[in-house]
């Protein structure tokens, strides 16, 4: 099945503004940015405009406060909103030539606001002249760089694992498992005690992907580290790979009754509450939401996190560690110099540490001053042993594979499809034009 549209060879490309002018739309072409500026919170007169997603609000607010202590003359205007809303607004502003100076940017490719997508369109300023870019590990190139140039600032990686309620585990007499069979035993014990072993809020689309992502590193990348390159070259498919094993295990957890009833009707907020209140023992989640889980619990110490074991060899466990959402500088920023200065400030080790701490991430570069969230201590040896792989979507070629994955998992949980059908949906989306 084909979809979308392709450029036709031999035809020249046209700029949006050119079309508006050709159509007598000069008024619209000049009025559009003004109209958009009206809903973006302004930012003229030397004010640096920053637009971020809600997940970034705490670190950005803290960093701006710290920056203004040493740069009292720099004014900032900030706005934050959920991912889909920011994506809609910022893309519209980018199209109208009125983008904020510094804006949310997703690592790698695979989303409409990803670094590769915007860099390809010439909408990002590269940051190669900043010292911190030289400390980015080579393995993170695909997330931070496009064609050898750095466009993304991100403090580091968040991991996916099981956030668990320590008290529930202790009451059931179980410990965090280190193997897949151990996990099944623990879940069986918890279920027998009337506790939901794994809370799953699959009505919230992004939650659907987390268990797949937790299992795929062992099922796919441990055996075939070049799987992404094979996919890109057309030598591999989801349906014919370890993805089938991972989704099979996902389905097995459901068949054994180790999820809450009606996962497709349960939201992320309900999932959080279930673990925080002890109604459920654990939830497979990204470390960035640890703060939200802790907030919902009676005491933050009630919760811990362990690597979700996708295989049966604890010494060879692979995990997903994805570069967290960050910031980019618009190529057409009105205050490009001030925006870049702010990013350079964020690149100092103490600020990388502070941002990473705020979102429970592992900084991309560490020194003796780095203090990690204690909940992440079991993950660090695995990351340092190079057995962590980026979140799978960061290497996907277009923005359709991830939503196809969400839908496929929801269909799988609803019994509307099987593992093969789910993976075929993803293969179809992968084959579409970017």
């Amino acid at each position: 099945m084909t979809t979308g549209s392709r450029s036709q060879p031999g035809r020249g490309t046209v700029s949006r503004r050119g079309v508006l002018r050709a159509g007598g739309g000069l008024v619209a072409a000049t009025a559009l940015p003004t109209g958009l500026a009206a809903c973006s919170g302004g930012g003229s007169g030397g004010t640096v405009r920053v637009v971020g997603v809600a997940d970034e609000q705490q670190p950005i607010t803290e960093m701006i406060a710290a920056y203004r202590r040493s740069h009292p003359g720099t004014a900032f205007s900030t706005s934050f909103a959920p991912t889909d809303q920011v994506q809609t607004v910022v893309r519209t502003q980018l199209a109208g030539g009125n983008a904020p100076d510094v804006h949310v940017l997703y690592p790698g490719s695979g989303s409409a606001m990803s670094m590769v997508e915007l860099a390809k369109a010439g909408l990002l300023a590269h940051l190669d002249d900043q010292a911190w870019t030289r400390t980015i590990p080579k393995g993170f190139d695909a997330a931070y760089r496009w064609k050898g140039r750095t466009y993304l600032y991100s403090a580091g990686s968040s991991v996916i694992g099981a956030i668990y309620n320590k008290k529930v585990f202790a009451d059931a007499g179980v410990k965090p498992p280190t193997t897949w069979s151990g996990l099944l035993d623990v879940c069986g014990t918890l279920k027998a005690r009337g506790v939901v072993p794994i809370a799953l809020g699959a009505q919230t689309p992004w939650v659907t992907q987390l268990i797949s992502y937790a299992l795929v590193p062992n099922a796919v990348y441990a055996k075939d580290p070049s799987f992404d390159d094979d996919m890109a070259a057309g030598r591999a498919t989801f349906a014919g790979s370890g993805w089938a094993d991972a989704l099979g295990k996902y389905q097995d957890l459901q068949k054994r009754g180790y999820f809450n009833d009606h996962p497709d009707g349960t939201t992320y907020e309900q999932q959080t509450s279930m673990v925080a209140t002890g109604k459920a023992a654990m939830a497979v989640q990204v470390s960035a939401v640890l703060a939200a889980f802790r907030q919902a619990a009676k005491s933050p110490d009630d919760l811990g996190m362990f690597p979700f074991p996708g295989g049966d060899d604890p010494a060879n466990l692979w995990i997903p560690a994805g570069v967290v959402v960050g910031l980019g500088v618009s190529a057409r920023a009105r205050n490009a110099a001030k925006g870049r200065q702010f990013i350079e400030f964020l690149g100092r080790q103490e600020n990388i540490n502070a941002w990473a701490t705020a979102v429970s991430a592992v900084p991309f570069t560490r020194d003796s001053t780095t203090r990690l969230d204690p909940a992440l201590s079991d993950f660090l040896p695995i990351i340092d042993a190079d057995r962590a792989v980026p979140f799978m979507d960061q290497r996907w070629p277009n923005a359709e594979v991830q939503p196809a994955h969400f839908a496929a998992v929801q269909d799988l949980l609803a019994g509307k499809t099987d593992v093969n059908g789910a993976l075929e949906q993803m293969d179809t989306a992968y084959g579409k034009s970017s």
Binding site: G12, T13, L123, D264, E400, D411, K416
Partner: protein
């Protein structure tokens, strides 16, 4: 004594120097600039491969060809039509019943009118979030909790998580929100029915049902036209409640044409294709509305 004639213009006399339509021009200019022009200019993108950012190429009818072979978009058309039929029938049926109820001589009728109309003024997104709590799949919460409490535990469902039910759960949410709106339109129609007609029918021996069938119902035709038109257009364009409550899921079971075009533009970055879908939707809504209007107007005349 006759009053002296004044030299000023007399009432009822038109001054050809200032034609009446001139008064509409300022509003028309603003409307054209902010609605008509962008709408027409936007059509251009339906024939391009624009991603929403950067440059683009013209691709002729490729987007429309893609739409004809896009299983997800085609399935969403079925969902949209099912939702529209469900909403139009239930919203207007319930609206009519409510209007008949609050048109009766009861002391609390003004309060009831306000209560029934109130949901119509709440943001659709807020309504969706509210109903997500109502539809909580947990047996002890929301609607399932109420069903359990009144001995109807067997009817408890995963309202938004069961692909076979989701569409109807969303339809119920929309009906709850807008039935009061239909009620107000029907109420205006009911209050336009001359009481003498009812009295004459009563003298002729007509019962309650006959008076409704042969007196009230024919005279409600204009109100019915308005309600059917508005609810049909609203149903075909339904977006907010679906996006906020289910995001088109589980899977793609509750996708409507509006959620598909939104995702194509802002999630997948295929603005050109999305504009083509939007254009098809606009033409579809216009065609259905015109057919409906012609039929209903003819029915009004016949009534």
């Amino acid at each position: 004594m006759k009053a002296p004639r004044t030299a000023g213009p007399r009432l009822g006399r038109r001054d050809p120097a200032v034609p009446p339509w001139m008064f509409v021009v300022p509003a028309l200019v603003v409307y054209a600039a902010v609605v008509l022009y962008p709408s027409v200019a936007g059509v251009v993108y339906a024939f391009t491969d624009w991603s929403g950012i950067g440059s683009f190429s013209f691709v002729g009818l490729a987007n429309f060809h893609t739409l004809l072979h896009d299983d997800r978009a085609l399935a969403s058309i079925t969902n949209t039509l099912l939702l529209t039929v469900a909403v139009v029938v239930a919203q207007n049926g319930l609206g009519l019943l409510l209007a008949l109820g609050v048109n009766a001589e009861i002391r609390s009728r003004n309060l009831l009118r306000v209560v029934f109309f109130a949901p119509a003024v709440v943001s659709p997104v807020m309504v969706a979030f509210l109903w997500k709590y109502v539809y909580n799949p947990d047996n002890g919460s929301g609607l399932n909790g109420v069903l359990g409490a009144v001995g109807l535990g067997g009817l408890r469902q995963d309202w938004l998580g069961n692909p076979s039910l989701t569409l109807w759960s969303v339809a119920a949410m929309v009906v709850w929100q807008y039935a009061g709106y239909s009620m107000v339109v029907f109420l205006a129609g009911l209050q336009g029915v001359p009481p003498e007609l009812h009295e004459a029918a009563r003298i002729d021996g007509a019962g309650t049902w006959q008076r409704f069938r042969y007196v009230t119902w024919p005279l409600l035709a204009p109100a019915l036209t308005v309600n059917l038109m508005l609810s049909t257009i609203g149903g075909l364009k339904l977006f907010d409640q679906v996006y906020a409550a289910t995001n088109g899921g589980p899977g793609t079971s509750s996708e409507t044409l509006s959620t598909v075009l939104y995702k194509e533009a802002f999630v997948y970055g295929k603005f050109g294709y999305s504009t083509a879908v939007a254009l098809v939707l606009a033409l579809f809504v216009a065609a259905v509305s015109l057919l409906q209007l012609r039929y209903l107007r003819a029915r009004e005349v016949a009534a």
